[in-house]
Amino acid sequence: MSVTATHPAGSAALEALYQEQILAHYRHPHGKGTLAAADATVTTRNPLCGEEATVTVTLDRTGPDVRVRDIRFTSDGCSISQASASMMTDLARGRTATEIAALTDRFADLLRGDAAATHDETLGPLQAFATLSRVPARIPCALLAWKALADALRPQ
């Protein structure tokens, strides 16, 4: 094996895994921070690595189903967990708990390598994580913030 600055063979696989959308969200995350007057604040921790994600939400409880008015996250985690959390804030804002639960399940399907999920347009930018199914050790990173959001939306 020749040792050079870049690996033409390996770099294609790397770029498939770390798609530009993921790196872009990691460098410039959306919805990063904390909401001052939050209705719910939940921190989840990945026990394997100690990584944490905290999600704060303001909620609209006037309808039959609770709806996310606004959302922020904080995390010191890896690019996978931060990019996933960043996309999550875009997708969750304005959605109901039922819609978010369905989206979370679909995202988990995608991460498990479900072929149908890779064509599901409702996942939007989350499709960038499709290749993560090849790296099962990192799937908990992608789901970390989503678990916090699910807890935040759980009926009191």
Binding site: M1, V3, A5, S11, Y18, C49, G50, D76, G77, I80
Partner: protein, 421 residues
């Protein structure tokens, strides 16, 4: 480029996966063929429950177990082999001491001293013992380069100190603790010294009689033996005064309806059918290490460590943790600016390089270092310069991916291949 001899051919997994750069031996070591053969040979020729049957095969298994203990004791320079208790590994050994010795000897107002370097296995049992017994729990801080601060240790140890628990080598940073100085300080107040030897036993010559410590715990799986076998070496008078840790078969002398008396050492601390196959394999592992020579093992790993420190340290944005190569074992802990350790490990994995990323079961240490995770490369006898090349190359790939090619130092030429495989 320094050329270092490789023993890769002795390790079947590494032979089968020629592109693999296994740099996680601080977590667990790959197994040499001689260990796998010895275990298989035992099960195929000599297997029965030891210390039981009045038949020849059981006697043969008993002899194998006894010989394994003698061989492992000799590896550590231990004269009285009965003071080597076989356990599942370092974690069980340390829990044995914290429970069987600690619960009967530590009293309210006493003090327990550990260091900021400790693996959770030599931290949590003592913290919980202190809570259970109403004792004070003191953590000795480190020097800026990650060594136990001996002056702070001297201040932390008082006449109320009952035990000083310390890692011989830090699993997260590789720091080697000067046990002689630690033992002298503990000895001056009559405190016991309990040593976590998980990271020293595989990587350097350990002469237990010269170390003059009270307990030394180690894990076979980091030395090339299978998982589930390890040991605790203790002083005879302390072990004899201690109550048993677990109750069951083998560890008893006479069981009455109301009282039971205990078997002699080492059996008092080995309840139940022991891991004879593991012990036989561990004995083969220490024979393998002895055939290389522990001085040579240390020299080999030190060469690779110095090489890795120099080459990673030359990359912009790479931060190294821990002391210089002469004061550390074959462990290199590092972070790369702008790239989380987990991303780094995943990217390295894509290039066949196995490193650990995370807190290395040493959260109190990483909190103090101010990082949530580091990447850790660690060496053993089968590693060579090509593994260091692959590590450095992988870090540069990660930087290129995350930051673009500009971050890679323009003055660094592409390196020629040092070994093709």
């Amino acid at each position: 480029m320094t050329t270092v001899m490789t023993r890769r051919a002795d390790f079947p997994l590494l032979v089968r996966q020629p592109g693999l750069h296994y740099l996680d031996s601080a977590a667990t070591a790959q197994k040499p063929a001689v260990v796998l053969d010895a275990e298989r040979e035992f099960y195929e020729t000599s297997y029965a429950n030891p210390h039981r049957g009045a038949y020849a095969l059981s006697a043969r298994a008993t002899e194998c177990y006894h010989d394994a203990r003698t061989g492992v004791a000799r590896f550590f320079g231990l004269r009285d082999a009965a003071c080597l208790i076989f356990t599942r590994g370092t974690t069980e050994s340390l829990n044995l001491v914290a429970t069987a010795w600690g619960m009967h000897n530590v009293r309210p107002g006493d003090e327990i001293v550990v260091t900021r370097l400790e693996h959770h296995a030599n931290f949590v049992p003592w913290q919980q013992l202190a809570l259970a017994r109403g004792a004070a729990f003191r953590i000795v801080e480190l020097t800026p380069d990650g060594r136990v601060d001996i002056d702070l240790l001297r201040h932390a140890v008082t006449p109320r100190t009952k035990v000083v628990a310390v890692a011989h080598v830090s699993n997260a940073l590789g720091t080697i603790t000067p046990l002689g100085e630690v033992a002298a300080i503990a000895r001056s107040v009559g405190a016991l010294v309990v040593v976590d030897g998980a990271q020293s036993a595989p990587h350097m010559a350990v002469d237990i009689e010269a170390l003059d410590v009270d307990f030394y715990a180690f894990s076979g799986h980091k030395m090339g033996a299978p998982t589930g076998i390890g040991g605790l070496i203790g002083r005879r008078e302390i072990l004899e005064a201690m109550p048993p840790y677990q109750m069951g078969g083998d560890m008893i002398e006479v069981v009455g309806d109301e009282r039971t008396s205990w078997n002699v050492l080492p059996h008092k601390f080995e309840a139940g059918t022991p891991n004879v196959g593991g012990a036989v394999a561990l004995a083969a592992a220490v024979r393998y290490l002895t055939s290389i020579g522990m001085t040579e093992v240390r020299r080999h790993e030190q060469t690779l460590t110095a090489m890795a420190i120099e080459r990673l340290g030359a990359l912009p944005g790479v931060r190294l943790y821990g002391p210089d190569a002469t004061r550390r074992s074959g462990v290199v802990s590092f972070t790369v600016d702008g790239i989380h350790a987990h991303d780094l490990a995943t990217i390295l994995d894509q290039e066949g390089v196995c490193v650990r990323a995370g807190h290395h079961c040493a959260q109190p240490l990483l909190r103090r270092l101010g990082v949530s995770a580091t990447a850790r490369a660690s060496f053993f006898v089968y590693n060579d310069a090509a593994d260091v090349d692959a590590l450095v190359s992988g870090v540069r790939s990660a930087q290129t991916l995350f930051h673009g090619p500009r971050v890679v130092s323009p003055g660094t030429p592409a390196r020629p291949a040092t070994a093709s495989r």
